[in-house]
């Protein structure tokens, strides 16, 4: 029973739980239900990856309508990998959420907060599961609308304008995606991704199809915060509640990157994208500028959450570099970095959330001397920072290694220079915090270490940062087989 409906349950459980949580009384009960839901999603996601790890494909027909007429959920190793990432981050974030949310969200909004969180989770999981491109748009909007609401719940009033700005950018992006889907439907008459992929070669040279591709590309690029369409991201991450920053930074952009990979490689095919449209000459320069310019801007930020948000824009650049190289190694690097960046940003934002919980601020000057006051939190921050820089034994090293290998295969030495400069700049902006936290006298005499329920999830993620940096068998093998599947024709 569970086995056959696995892929649907992953989306439906949080979707059904959301309205139930909304009518629960405020307090700890909504949190408990949300925790149970996300834990069950994690179990289902692990089972799902287990089922498809051997290269098989699960095709689930919604309501028994056969594809391509009905909506199909089509799970291969790539979907299952990203779904596991989303469910895993949700399950680790929620134990952390209990205290953090009680402190940052007004009591009367707590059940609504968790309800919106579940909707966002359901939308993100839905994007990863679906094999129908219009269904993907609907799930994208479910996750986006709930994340606008969640961001606006931040304590400062700037959170409201950040959410408003994100809403506009996000809606324009979603509308572009809608136009792209409409034009692709006009030339093929189908919305099923696998069916689209099969029918597109007949109409490959038409202007309508090329326009559809570009609209989809730009729409997803806005959601992914590709430079120069990233302007919504720094404010949205800086002013959202801590838990939401952790969750969105680790999942939302990763799911958008997955959509980009899916559209380029599965639906439209690498030959249209790279040989006919030459999008790598669009992606590679923009990604390189993102890596360098966003890292430079990050150095001059005094709000550390905002600094890490700019660093996210730079890290998305690395993911795009791998996609732009479009070789098996490049795609492996992209998929690896998708997973690894989620781990390091979750660790860094969790450490900052703990600082915000104890100190009440994430401004650079307020972190002076915290290395002695909150040793465990700051040690975790340093570990996350090392991973971000790409020190050996951390996950950051693994993804950069594969990216450099991919660049080396192509003989693109300038790309290696970009990665090196990006890493050097990351050392500079992480060092500013290390210097302030460890080598400056403290201004708060009564600050103590964060409570255990914040530290445990934080350290769990930090350990994952090192575990997947040393034992790479799971992540690398899954990414490699996913990359080969994406390049080796249809899913």
């Amino acid at each position: 029973m569970i086995e056959t409906h696995l892929s649907l349950l992953l989306v439906v459980i949080p979707l059904i739980a959301a309205p139930i949580v909304a009518i629960l009384p405020n307090g700890r009960l909504p949190w408990l239900v949300t925790l149970l839901v996300s834990l069950s999603c994690l179990v289902l996601a692990i089972m799902q990856l287990w089922n498809v790890a051997d290269g098989s494909i699960i095709s689930y027909e919604l309501g028994g309508w056969a594809p391509p007429w009905g909506i199909e959920y089509r799970i291969d190793v790539i979907n299952a990998f990203v779904a596991l990432l989303v469910a895993g981050v949700a399950a680790v974030t929620l134990p952390y959420a209990l205290l953090s949310v009680e402190k940052e969200i007004p009591t009367k909004q707590i059940s609504l907060f968790y309800s919106a969180f579940l909707l966002c989770l359901s939308g993100l999981l839905g994007i990863t599961q679906t094999g129908d491109i219009f269904n993907l748009f609907v799930f994208l909007e479910i996750s986006s609308l709930s994340s606008y609401a969640l961001i606006s719940l931040g304590k400062q009033r700037k959170a409201l304008t950040a959410a408003y700005q994100y809403l506009f950018m996000g809606t324009i992006g979603a509308t572009f995606i809608l136009i792209g889907i409409g034009l692709a439907y006009a030339v093929t008459g189908t919305l099923n991704m696998a069916d689209l992929a099969a029918r597109l070669p007949e109409v490959e040279a038409t202007r309508t199809l090329q326009t559809a591709f570009i609209f989809l590309l730009i729409g997803v690029a806005i959601k992914l915060a590709v430079f120069p369409l990233h302007l919504w991201l720094p404010n949205a991450y800086a002013y959202a509640p801590s838990v939401i920053t952790i969750f969105l930074a680790a999942t939302a952009t990763k799911v958008a990157a997955y959509v980009l990979i899916r559209i380029i490689f599965t639906v439209f095919g690498a030959s249209l994208a790279f040989q006919e449209m030459h999008i790598h000459w669009l992606l590679l320069p923009l990604a390189s500028i993102a890596v360098i310019s966003a890292s430079l801007v990050a150095i001059f930020q005094y709000n550390i959450k905002r600094m890490l948000a700019y660093s996210s824009v730079a890290q998305i650049g690395y993911i795009l570099l791998g996609i732009g190289i479009a070789s098996a190694t490049g795609l492996t690097a992209s998929l690896l970095h998708l997973f690894n960046h989620a781990l390091m940003k979750a660790a860094l934002f969790m450490a900052l959330g703990a600082v915000l919980y104890q100190v009440g601020s994430v401004a650079l000057q307020d972190m002076a001397g915290l290395g002695r006051r909150m040793p465990w939190t700051m040690a975790a921050f340093v570990a996350g920072g090392l991973s971000l820089i790409g020190v050996p034994l951390t996950v950051g090293f693994i993804s950069k290694l594969y990216l450099i290998l991919a660049a080396f295969e192509q003989g693109w030495w300038w790309l290696i220079v970009v990665v090196a400069i990006g890493s050097l700049l990351a050392i500079v902006y992480i060092w500013r915090i290390v210097e302030t936290a460890y080598f400056k006298p403290t201004s708060h005499s009564n600050v103590t270490e964060a409570p255990l329920s914040l530290l445990l999830p934080l350290w769990l993620i930090v350990i994952a940062n090192f575990y997947f940096g040393i034992d790479t068998s799971l992540t690398v093998s899954v990414s490699e087989s996913a990359a080969n599947m994406l390049l080796g024709g249809k899913p």
Partner: protein
């Protein structure tokens, strides 16, 4: 040429509406006007889908005697979903504007910017 332009008049309307809405979103500083612009932008896409669904000489897709050519109903169904999404977006945006007005006392973007800077 004239026939081509007139024959595709619905698509010209789509492009005109789309650019109008987009221009309003970019150029206006008033938050409510921006939402109106966003709505016009979204509505243009609804028209695009409905135009795609039209089949020449087709009737409404209801099986009746004497008709063999029907318009494609699927884009209409899709656009019903997109309309619901648009309504949700608009209501969320309006709710945000209400909260922004409570927090800042204004809904003009430049004034909000000045208030944030002066802190």
């Amino acid at each position: 040429m004239i026939e081509y332009i007139l024959g595709h008049y619905n698509y010209w309307i789509v492009i005109f509406l789309m650019m109008t809405g987009f221009y309003i979103v970019i150029s206006r500083g008033n938050m409510i006007k921006k939402i109106a612009g966003l709505n016009i932008f979204q509505v243009s896409v609804f028209l695009l889908y409905i135009s795609i669904g039209n089949v020449r000489d087709g009737t409404a897709p209801i099986i009746t005697e004497g008709f063999t050519v029907y318009s494609n109903p699927l884009p209409h169904v899709l656009i019903l979903t997109a309309i619901v999404v648009g309504v949700a977006t608009t209501s969320l945006a309006l709710a945000l504007v209400v909260r922004i007005r409570e927090a800042y006392g204004t809904i003009e973007e430049d004034e909000i910017h000045n208030k944030d800077q002066s802190l």
